[in-house]
């Protein structure tokens, strides 16, 4: 009888052993904070703000407008038709660094903040990883256009991509509906 009770206790303890302890939960929180910190570091050194944060003219020259950090091309900024550069010049960029015209058409940098309607707020980690790894929107949609250097970023480790995503999900959510990209203009008919 005593032996049976011991066996019963052993089996009953198994699911309890699977529950996190307070120390483990604290470790998880620390781990989450570490990921966000790592993601912030990568986003900073990889230059994401260069294009995904609108630039403005500051006291010391052009600088990213961090009040609109990583929110992409401002929705109220209507772009006129881009000038056609003369080769070997190839592309044209807006003063905000958020709109780029080239042989691909016109691309507008995405809102990477966690706003649910206009940013990445509804995205999952997998949606983000699939986008960067495949160069397709959410891994299945249209191609991610230049100058987004996803062919380089796709080599990030899984851990680093997750860190970037966790950081992006932690920054202030900004409502900014970035316009859809434009296709290349129709070629002018030969005279």
């Amino acid at each position: 009888m005593k032996t049976s009770l011991i066996h019963l206790a052993l089996l009953a303890a198994l699911p309890l052993a699977a529950l996190p302890t307070a120390a483990q939960m604290q470790e998880t929180d620390k781990s989450a904070a570490d990921k966000i910190a790592r993601g912030k570091y990568i986003v900073t050194i990889a230059g994401c703000n260069d294009c995904h944060t609108p630039w403005k003219m500051g006291d010391k020259g052009p600088e990213p407008d961090m009040s609109r950090m990583l929110s992409g091309h401002p929705q109220d900024m209507k772009m006129p038709a881009a000038p056609t550069p003369t080769a070997p010049w190839l592309m044209t960029g807006a003063a905000t660094n958020t709109a780029w015209a080239g042989p691909w058409g016109v691309s507008f940098t995405a809102n990477l903040t966690p706003n649910r309607e206009t940013g990445l707020g509804k995205w999952t980690l997998r949606n983000f990883v699939d986008t960067i790894r495949t160069g397709r929107h959410m891994g299945r949609g249209r191609e991610i256009l230049p100058p987004m250097p996803w062919p380089m970023h796709k080599h990030m480790t899984d851990a680093d991509l997750e860190a970037v995503f966790r950081y992006l999900q932690s920054i202030p959510a900004i409502s900014n509906r970035v316009p859809e990209p434009l296709p290349p203009a129709a070629p002018v008919a030969a005279r």
Partner: protein, 364 residues
């Protein structure tokens, strides 16, 4: 001294429970190289260009539009094996399964795609480009290939890259779900939709597969009453079927795009629920996508196809805005017309948005 059997058994059971929770991913076996020619994949009878004996031809009732390509499809199962059809919407295929799909334009094959399940359970994809004479098809590069195709825009046709294959054929979050989109209880139901667009005929159905022992475990109710899409009108049935066949493999509530809350896939297991989910995710739902120069903000506006983003994207001349985003250069005008008629006639302001017709059984 007697062996303490009871405590030993308990400890072994405990160890087994704990081991089951440990990731013990087996090492993947070496992947055999892809055959360099289509003839070496087993599709053809020796020395011919005719399908090999034992291959099963099939045709989903709601085929995918690919610029009007004429398609033929074949399935090969290892001898003695069968498809596990217990989940009618997510069949499980045995290792060794091979499926081929031929795309033809102007009376000649241009491309044949192959999907196979390797011995270790993984799936892999390949496509083969036919020469102009139609005498041989060779393995296309992993990055895809553009070939001459008179009659198509620019006279060119694009064979997909391996990555492109995964964009549609990925099995979602369920690695066992399998990427074979045209093989499901709904797509092979003998109760075929007479108004399905671009329909092809095939003798293969749930009944023939079951009778031949090639599917096992299919819920008996689906043999007695073969699956059909729940819809109140023939137009709605055909439109929901069209969206299922062309969009549902990405836009569903079980894969990675679940975050979009747009479900265009229909299910044989619960046709009423899946049809209602489609309506609920289209009507009264704001669209994330906003076309330049358009005031449309809703996925579907009942009665107004021209104001519906769904229809705008299906017929967009902008390849960056068009849906589907892959595999379509030529807009399917019949598909656009069908969905427009469905939005106008079935989803108008006075129409109920609740599916009322229960699955009422099939015509034998």
């Amino acid at each position: 001294m007697r062996t303490p059997v009871r405590p030993v058994c308990t400890l072994l059971a405990a160890a087994a429970l704990m081991a089951a929770a440990v990731d013990t991913t087996a090492d993947a076996s070496a992947e055999p190289p892809l055959p360099v020619t289509l003839a070496r994949t087993g599709l053809f009878a020796a020395g011919t260009r005719e399908p090999a004996p034992g291959l099963l031809s099939f045709a989903p009732q709601y085929p995918l539009w690919t610029d009007g390509a004429h398609k033929r499809r074949w399935l090969s199962l290892p001898a003695g094996s069968a498809i596990d059809a217990r989940d009618p919407d997510r069949w499980q295929f045995p290792p060794g399964t091979r499926v081929w799909k031929e795309f033809g334009f102007g009376g000649r094959p241009v491309e044949t795609r192959m999907i196979e399940r390797l011995p270790d359970g993984r799936w892999r994809f390949a496509t083969y480009a036919w020469n102009a004479q139609g005498s041989e098809a060779v393995l296309a590069p992993e990055v895809g290939l553009t070939v001459s195709a008179p009659g198509l825009p620019g006279g060119r046709y694009r064979l997909p890259s391996r990555a492109d294959c995964l964009a549609c054929h990925d099995g979602g979050d369920d690695p066992q779900g399998g990427p074979l989109l045209g093989l499901s209880a709904l797509q092979l139901s003998p109760d075929r939709d007479p108004q399905a667009l671009h329909a092809e005929t095939s003798a293969t159905s749930l009944r023939t597969l079951n009778d031949a022992g090639l599917i096992r475990g299919l819920p008996p109710a689906l043999l007695d009453r073969p699956p059909r899409i729940a819809a109140d009108t023939p137009t709605a049935r055909a439109a929901l079927g069209y969206l299922h066949g062309n969009c549902g493999h990405c836009h569903n509530d079980s894969g990675s795009l679940d975050s979009l809350s747009l479900s265009l896939a229909q299910q044989a297991a619960d046709p009423l629920a899946s049809a209602q989910r489609t309506l609920d995710s289209l009507l009264g739902h704001a669209s994330r996508f906003r076309a330049h120069g358009s005031d449309s903000t809703q996925r579907v506006v009942g009665g107004q196809g021209e104001a519906s983003v769904l229809l705008q994207r299906m017929q967009s001349s902008n390849p960056l805005a068009r849906m589907p985003p892959l595999g379509v250069q030529v807009i399917d005008r019949e598909g656009v017309a069908l969905v427009e008629r469905w939005i106008r006639e079935d989803l108008g302001p006075r129409s109920s948005t609740a599916i009322t017709r229960q699955h009422s059984g099939s015509t034998p």
